[in-house]
């Protein structure tokens, strides 16, 4: 369970809203993620899960409400009683505190597995190469792909690529890891390896916000589950509770739908 002694949550979203060309993708989202907690975000397609993760990582701007990471307002600076957008460099700095794992891996194809992992530490954190490579090798060991260090992404299976992508994100020593359906582009037999890496990561106390359709994973690893539908939070609570005794009709419908699939 999460550590309730920490007063402010690591992620605090209040009244977050976002629309694309007039149609609302997120409406009035309130979500807290506490230090060390694993929160799973579930809900039907198009319910705004990806959009919410992208707002936290500022790949998308939100138009209403506010998101704080570790007490720091994301994307804006409070000057007097006005909010001013942060500069590109400041946003990049905030981004480097969260790691993002994409559905389609998005590894850099022109770099080897090892270079994919060291690129951020060397170019953004300005670590020296030898040190970055040493810690990258450690990460590779952790995701079970030590021997793939010199391989290019095109020479790796989907599951291996996703594990390298997780290592790449971890190399930035993020405070928070965001996962957007990390296993849904994988063949069924490769899903397990990636989920194992995520389970281990949760075990180390990493704070994680995971969009997933893997209900077993959500139930087992997730501390809390947040159910979204049509851009709104429908229900939130301890994973076992929400998934076993859903209160809301829409949660029940969704759970029935995925269990049938």
């Amino acid at each position: 369970m999460s550590d309730r002694s920490v007063p402010i949550p690591l992620v605090r979203a209040r009244g977050v809203g976002k629309s694309f060309h007039g149609s609302a993708a997120l409406t009035d989202i309130d979500i807290d993620v506490h230090q060390g907690e694993v929160v799973c975000l579930i809900g039907p397609s198009g319910s705004g899960k990806t959009t919410f993760l992208r707002c936290i990582n500022q790949l998308e701007t939100y138009d209403k409400g506010a998101i704080w990471l570790d007490g720091e307002l994301l994307g804006y600076k409070e000057t007097g009683d006005a909010l001013r957008p942060l500069s590109e460099r400041e946003i990049a700095g905030q981004r480097s505190k969260t790691g993002m794992v994409f559905q389609r891996f998005n590894l850099f194809p022109h770099l080897t597995a090892l270079q994919n992992i060291t690129e951020g530490p060397v170019r953004v954190l300005r670590q020296d190469r030898a040190r970055a490579e040493a810690s990258a090798m450690q990460l590779l060991r952790r995701v079970g792909l030590e021997e793939k260090a010199p391989a290019y992404p095109s020479e790796l299976s989907g599951g291996q690529q996703q594990r390298i992508a997780i290592a790449r994100a971890l190399a930035m020593q993020p405070q928070l890891m965001l996962f957007d359906e990390p296993t849904s582009a994988l063949d069924p037999e490769l899903v397990g390896d990636v989920l194992n890496v995520m389970r281990d990561l949760a075990g180390t106390g990493m704070t994680m916000l995971v969009v997933t359709h893997e209900m077993a994973f959500a139930r087992e690893v997730g501390d809390r589950v947040v159910v979204m539908d049509r851009g709104r939070v429908v229900e939130a609570g301890p994973a076992s509770e929400v998934m076993t005794y859903p209160k809301e009709e829409r949660t029940r419908n969704f759970l029935r739908l995925v269990s049938r699939a």
Binding site: F102, P109, V124
Partner: protein, 270 residues
Amino acid sequence: MRIIHPVPYGRYLAVALILLAAGFIVKSFAEGQVDWSVTWRYLFWPNILMGLVNTIWMSILCMAIGIAIGLASALARESVNPVLRGASIFYTWFFRGAPLILQLLLWYNLALIFPRISLFGFYDARTVDIITPAVAALLAFGLNAGAYASEIIRAGLLGVDRGQFEAAKAIGMTNSVALRRIVIPQAMRTVLPPLGNEFISLIKMTSLASIIGFSDLLRSVQNIYFINTRIIEMLMVATVWYLFVVTILSIFQHRLEARFGRGFAKGGRR
């Protein structure tokens, strides 16, 4: 079981046809009215080599200018700033649209429009002193090459998956670092072949500069045949050198392509 490969008749036929054509060309040149000893004698003539060197540095400099402007213009075209986008569109429209020889003459005769060039009082000079044939050629070819390079580079940048840019930003890279380290190296793969093409046609286009008195390879060859009247022999000298330079360039391009093709495995059946 043994695998029996079918006989590649198509390949044999192609080889036969090519050999036939090559034999015909060699035969006609050997019998034709060309005194190859003259060609050979002038191949390393000092004035010719001077012209060759001028052609080479002019081409390299123009290409460098073209790539720099082309990259800037491609980025401007894809930027969110409408003024930059407009400027880029106007630039490619004008410098691709007007005939190159016309642009060359316009730059060379700039003094007719602006007799003096002055930079906010810091610097002031007569235009004719600044716009030498070399400068006019650099401006004309460089800006023209930039207009073409802009579209080539833009196509290359658009060809890189957006997810790459986002992944780069997700690890905290700024736009410029993401471009330099992640997007441009991947765009290089698709940009190199057409850019190599552009370079080759630029090398040959620089011969146009001879009309405004720039002593390039073609001009130095002409200067000699006006005197010795061995027109074909001298033109062969230029041909040999142009082909030589283009060959070196192709080898270089091949190396670069291999360098930037890393990670994009070629595997699979053809």
